[in-house]
């Protein structure tokens, strides 16, 4: 297999050949700079469309293991939701990813660049919003964005237009010439998102981006994240507002006590979470005949919630559409008046609580 690498020193691009699982020492022919390159084996390999590869990352602060052997891959265009309770290790992982912290052990690459060794190269296409956004208070919003835009490599002739575009996108244009010390917390939060978007990064890493935003702004930001993802931008964001994660994330990772508890899509998590499917039935009038439903093949149990409302547990492998059809027929034959029949789906909150408890027990 072959791998194309860029020398971090002189930027010369070289193609290297090797076998899967092999580690090769590479020396740049132009500047003599040398380093190691790993050819991933097919098991757990990094595919071509993987943008972030995190492998067994750990971070230890004296006696505290803040991040413990975390691994995940993120594909281009994915929206990766990183969730966990306070102190779970979300921010530490993110800081390692952007090169502000150095991992104690493990490997991390962003678009092929090893972090933190090649962070200067990786920083060119990362947009990062920290949990605590510290702008220098004497700056105006425009001045701060101008500086960060220039530092991120946005061309001067494009910068003014780009700043206006981003400020309009986030409904911040009226604050353009206001001093940062005069802005509210939510506005500064949105300005934090603006500085991360400014240079049109292909990877957006946001630490609790929706914290402190009003519902309208949250809706707006979520919409922007979805649009960016549709246009190919990869988004990694941490949050403990589960409904927000559920709304936008295409892949979710649950972390607690520094350990990764579960990674997958919401659907994957739901299917593992439920041993059996559940259907909620509400009758418009009380009836004792609903018990007839239990005789339908595939129905495991009926749980009465109130005189008109009950839950039907059906076997996981059973065809739920077929069973719903049978339930309707049975209820109508027994003169029951149906108000609603709804398949019950677990919320991310329930899944999250389930895995956290499971993680706690396994610990």
């Amino acid at each position: 297999m072959e791998k194309t690498i860029r020398c971090p020193n002189c930027k010369k691009i070289t193609t290297v050949f090797g076998n899967p699982g092999e580690t090769k020492k590479v020396t740049c022919l132009d500047c003599g700079n040398s380093g190691k390159i790993i050819f991933e084996d097919s098991h757990g390999s990094i595919s071509k469309d993987t943008l972030i590869s995190v492998k067994n990352i750990s971070k230890k602060y004296k006696d505290i293991l803040a991040v413990n052997n975390v691994s995940f891959n993120i594909k281009k265009g994915e929206i990766f939701g990183y969730i966990g309770p306070n102190g779970a290790g979300k921010t530490t992982t993110i800081k390692i990813m952007v090169g502000l912290l150095k991992q104690t052990s493990g490997e991390l690459s962003i678009n092929g660049y090893q972090m933190p060794e090649e962070k200067e190269m990786a920083h060119r296409f990362i947009g990062y919003m920290p949990q605590q956004i510290g702008f220098q208070q004497w700056r105006t919003a425009n001045h701060a964005l101008t500086t960060f835009g220039k530092l991120s490599g946005v061309k001067s002739n494009n910068l003014k237009g780009r700043i206006d575009e981003i400020l309009n996108l986030l409904n911040l244009i009226q604050y353009k010439n206001k001093k940062i010390s005069k802005l509210s917390g939510g506005t500064i939060q949105k300005l934090g998102i603006a500085q991360a978007l400014l240079h049109n990064p292909s990877l957006l890493i946001l630490d609790e981006p929706l914290n402190g935003l009003d519902p309208d702004s949250r809706y707006q930001v979520k919409k922007i994240l979805k649009e960016l993802s549709n246009n190919g931008t990869t988004v990694f964001f941490s949050s403990h507002i589960l409904s927000d994660v559920q709304d936008v994330a295409t892949k979710i990772c649950i972390i607690d006590w520094g350990r990764m508890i579960k990674t997958g899509t919401l659907d994957e998590m739901k299917s593992e979470f439920f041993k059996e499917n559940q259907i909620e039935i509400i009758l418009s009038k009380k009836s004792d005949k609903y018990d007839e439903v239990s005789k339908i093949s595939g129905v495991k149990k009926i749980i009465e919630k109130s005189s008109e409302k009950f839950l039907v547990n059906i076997e996981k492998k059973a065809d739920s559409d077929e069973i719903i059809n049978e339930i309707i027929k049975t209820l109508l034959n027994n003169k029951c008046r149906i108000r609603s029949i709804t398949p019950v789906s677990p919320t991310l909150d329930e899944i999250y609580q389930y895995y956290l408890r499971k993680g706690g027990i396994n610990q």
């Binding site: 800081k95 090169g99 502000l100 920083h123 990362i126 990062y128 510290g134 500086t147 530092l151």
Partner: protein
């Protein structure tokens, strides 16, 4: 590009800070006050005494300004937004150092110049008579401010809190600015140029140390 940009920004930031009111107005006012209230001491022009007081005060202010600014920005996580961009870390520290050094030096220069002008006006002597002393004064003043500023940067990087930083800045800083005078204490004849040279060396050592520590720092 990033250094010139950060430097211009820092210069603007410090220039706009409230401490500048004291520096631009307070120090010259202090120079006038000294002239109005001080008697000539052992034949030395009062501008000489003014320069010593102003350079020490300016040095102290620059050290405290830089210490407080760096610790405050560390606490507020201001550097996170810079360090995730393709810039060198030393650009941040050196641009801060140069900004404060230039601003405080100009303020001290205005104050000392004002003192010299009053001396020339009062004694009706020509400026040439003062010229040697003026050059010495300028070298010593610039050297003192440089050492103090570098010390402020170093303490800002090391210190965990503003209070600790200010205490170290005041108590240790006053001894640090005396380093160029050490040969004089041991009876070695020191010209202003030697003081200036020692000042440059001490400043560079402290700045390099601050940069090395800042480069190792994890945010």
């Amino acid at each position: 590009m990033s250094f010139s940009l950060i430097f211009a920004d820092e210069l603007k930031g410090f220039y706009k800070s409230k401490v500048m009111i004291f520096l631009w107005i307070g120090l010259p006012a202090l120079a006038i006050l000294i002239h109005l209230t001080t008697e000539t001491y052992e034949g030395l022009p009062i501008s000489y005494i003014t320069a010593l007081i102003v350079s020490n005060l300016g040095g102290l202010i620059s050290a405290i300004m830089l210490t407080v600014n760096i610790i405050h920005e560390k606490d507020r996580r201001v550097y996170d937004l810079f360090l995730i961009r393709p810039i060198k870390r030393w650009h941040l520290l050196v641009s801060k150092f140069l900004s404060v050094y230039i601003i405080v030096s100009i303020a001290c220069f205005i104050a000392v110049s004002l003192g010299i002008m009053i001396d020339v006006f009062e004694s009706q002597l020509l400026l040439d008579v003062f010229m040697d002393q003026v050059v010495d004064l300028v070298i010593i003043t610039l050297s003192t401010i440089a050492i103090s500023s570098a010390f402020g940067v170093l303490i800002g990087v090391i210190s965990p809190s503003i209070v600790a930083g200010v205490i170290i800045g005041i108590f240790v800083g006053q001894y640090v600015i005396m380093i160029p005078s050490i040969p004089g204490i041991f009876g070695i004849d020191t010209s202003a140029y030697l003081v200036g040279l020692i000042g440059i060396i001490v400043t560079v050592i402290m700045l390099v140390l601050a940069i090395l520590l800042f480069n190792r720092k994890q945010f």
